[in-house]
Amino acid sequence: MAYKNFKVETDSDGIALVTWDIPGRSMNVLDETSTSELDAIVKATTADAAVKGVVITSAKEAFCAGADLSMLEGMNQAYAKVFGEQGETAANQMLFDQSRRFSQVLRSIETSGKPWAAAINGLALGGGFEITLCCHYRVAAENPRTRLGLPEVKVGLFPGAGGTQRVPRLVPPQDAMTILLKGDPVTIEKAKALNLIHAIVPAADLVKAAKDWIKGGGKAVAPWDEKGFKLPGGPVFSKAGMMMFPAGNAIYRRETYDNYPAARAIMSCVYEGLQLPIDAALRVESRYFTSVLRSKEAAAMIRSLFLSMQELNKGARRPKDVPATKVKKVAVIGAGFMGASVGYVSARAGLDVVLIDRDQESADKGKAHAQKVIEDQIKKGRAKPTDAEALLARITPTADYAALKDVDLVIEAVFEDRKVKAETFAKAQEYLKPDVIFASNTSTLPITSLAEGFKDQGKFVGIHFFSPVEKMMLVEIIKGKNTGDVALATALDYVRQIGKTPIVVNDSRGFFANRCVGRYVAEGNEMFLEGVPPAMIENCAKMAGMPVGPLSLSDEVALDLGLKIMKATEADLGPNAINPDQKKLMVEMVEKQGRLGRKNSKGFYDYPEKGKGQKSLWPGLSALQPKQLDPDTLDIEELKQRFLVVQAVEAARTVEDHVITDPREADVGSILGFGFAPFTGGTLSYIDFMGTKKFVELCHKLEAKYGSRFTPPKLLEDMAAKGETFYGRFAPKKAAAA
């Protein structure tokens, strides 16, 4: 029988070689066709007496990168349909039956009675790795780049085709939990050491090694199907189990704040499953998988962190008519902290970089930064010494603007001052090739007005990096009023070259990310002034899903910078644009107490010298609070909500203001840019999944108690009245993906 995605060849020894090779794709992904065909192959090989055993491998570079998650969207639609027609129970039953089909196919491999060997030729992730786990033998081809693992938890799912059962039956519980809960893939050497795979052989011998195992009498029984099987960590209710599970549950909460149902489900699958024989265990796993699939967290995370992110990375917002550009040489003007880092990430991606500053010494300092970063990477094993040489050779520090003559893109990261910027533009312009795109990395100054200082405004664009540039994956690309398509396309192509995720926003004070995160920080200050205990402010923010508390974030950004921005906002927009009490607090902290934040080791926190313990909230804080509220009287859920709602409502305003035109960008941008509670799927998904009507009601409730910062914009009122969502009203054009 011929298959679309697989090739099956049985040799003279009766060993069927099943080669996975989805036509027209560079990688095998698990989709419905592959599942059905694999099912058919298992049935056929099991029934065929001539087949003695089966080897499964892939014809691609990778074995399989995992499931095609867009398949889940179809499942969601089917679920909604059955729900509407037959009710919740029928819909749940349908989802349970459908979603465990793949798990059952894998179990039928395991119990086929014929030995199956996985010849792992390359990367095997998620469902792809689960296929290998149900085989009776796993051999991998030597390749330092091959990774094996179960990363599902990162997008709000978990390995629901036996992963949560087979891994802890192969490796001790602590390692199993790390693999399942962190989702970080491992090298084949690590996998071998953990007992996840049986052997590693040279690539050329891979299939032969798998066949040899079958010919040598490889047993067609999984260890857990044999009598007397013992779990590697002992029974759940044993001394070892009692050491493991209570701590596991606590660490799960400490790390996730119990915001991630998939991670919790993994814990439960392991706890319950290890007390059961494998078939019952797989059924329990399927029940949890169904329940996670029904969770809004999974839907939100898959959409934002997987599908949307992939679409944006592939240039969803790129003007299609502009031919692809490639930046070979980039100039960064201003070799300070930001500029030096932008230079580093560009050089790391293989671009030639000219690093310009007002004198050679300052420019050299920028390059020295790159050297330090790459040396750290080498120390951590993430780069080789030869990478450092090549990287540093690509960076040319200079004070001479003439070096701009052959660059394709200029990014200025000079001091945030209109005059300084204007001088830079003037100086640079004389040397530029005619079609060079000029970008500003400003974080505070509107691009449209900055562009006025540049002779061809169409070639002027904002490329806003986040600090620390080396770590932050988001780049905001700001379209000024006159920014042209070529400038936009070039900026997007450049961001793609350096491997970061771009969002395209229209011009506005604070653009998108800083507008939202500014609200977050301000809300922390509001709570402080209300008399909420500072620790409670910080902890509730983290419990809401934010990575760093607002007071801590203020310290990181620097309180004096915060005060400076506040004063500038007041000067530009008038006294009503800021809260005078917050300003008073900052003046007190900065000007009277000399507390500038992390940079002088004194802010909302006291910072001990390195290696001398943790930071602690400054005991003097309570004296700066007008009153102190009794924590037992405070509504923790409301505190958590305020943090998310105040940012989400600001994100909605950016849509109303046309700063954001595509909800995917607000969602991905909020998660990558400032860590907005990832389980919500981002600022706008937070609203969509809550329901616009319910969100608007919540805004009004908070508005009545805390003021106009919670007032929903007219757009939201309108959407609530019509029962619309952001993804419905501003549906992204999927076709744009390249």
Partner: protein, 402 residues
Amino acid sequence: MADAYIYDHVRTPRGRGKADGALHEVTALALATVPLKALKDRNNLPEDSVDDVILGVVDPVGEAGSDIARFAALKAGLGEAVPGVQINRFCASGLDAVNFAAAQVMSGQHELVIGGGAESMSRVGIGASGGAWPMDPSMAVPAYFMPQGVSADLIATKYGFSRDDVDSYAVQSQQRAGKAWDEGRFNKSVVPVKDINGLTILAKDEHMRPSTTMQSLAQLQPSFTMMAQMGGFDGVAVQSHPEIERVNYVHHAGNSSGIVDGAGAVLLGSKEAGSKYGLKPRAKIRAFANIGSEPAMMLTGPVDVTEKLFARSGMKTSDIDLFELNEAFASVVLRYIQAFDIDNARINVNGGAIALGHPLGATGAMILGTVLDELERTNKSTALVTLCIGGGMGTATIIERV
């Protein structure tokens, strides 16, 4: 409703709950038998006179498993018609056994009942019975499970008790217990544990260190820091009470209850049963109550249950002459004192589990007896007995001399 009277109570001495403790060689069954036999002998109870024996055991597995109460009753010679039931409400099991016994009498269904408890911690081991609460993510996570010591440290942090505060309390417990032994205040009720030849194995509480000082306690490192940090419970504590920046670890072996072996039992009955067997009532059960409290802080249940009991019985703090609150951890007692503004001279006047030890399932019955003896010694009338409980619960009983 009939009154339930307390006719007698006895307890074993408490042996160090380790392999070198004196009671380690005594089986759980033999240990549980001691107070039952003593009650029978001291009160000349005829065979088959007791309607039921209720014993609290917190880890009822292994040799302490499968309804030890029935077999201890048989072994004590109470008669084959005397049944037994083993109950478990963690640390309050012994007091609940007394309350359940009282309830049987009050309801008029039984005339003479023994309530008590037994725990051989050195032989069975704390936590030996397992359970879903810390292990099953569907319970442990929403209930903010943490080991009790971390909860005790959380209480100290939240209510502002310093290391000095908890240590001072511990020193006082040791001094009070030492003085009580020196003055023979426990003599009436402690029955020695003897071997099969009648030779004494242990006659006196073994865990006490009356010479404990602030200086000696200062040498001890906090016990729960490492467990909390390595096991993730520090994060659980903070999330359960986010107003706390981090837990202040103040408890250690010297200001927490001791791990010991021991058993105790209380003889309760109706007025009629007393006349029938020639027993003199010493007190009656005035009221009792149970409650669930916040599971994360876990050990503040005595406050909640006392409020409930006061509300139900129409009593108030000033109506109680003596309070007996199990010294699971120093912060538990300090919080109780703080919540009701109780004079320190009216609570745990003869020391408690910090000095004497806490044989989990038995303690409730033991401390009820201790405070009854003290009421009699000082000619006072009313006492409230209460214990904090794992999982966030409280049990309390008010007794009144007659």
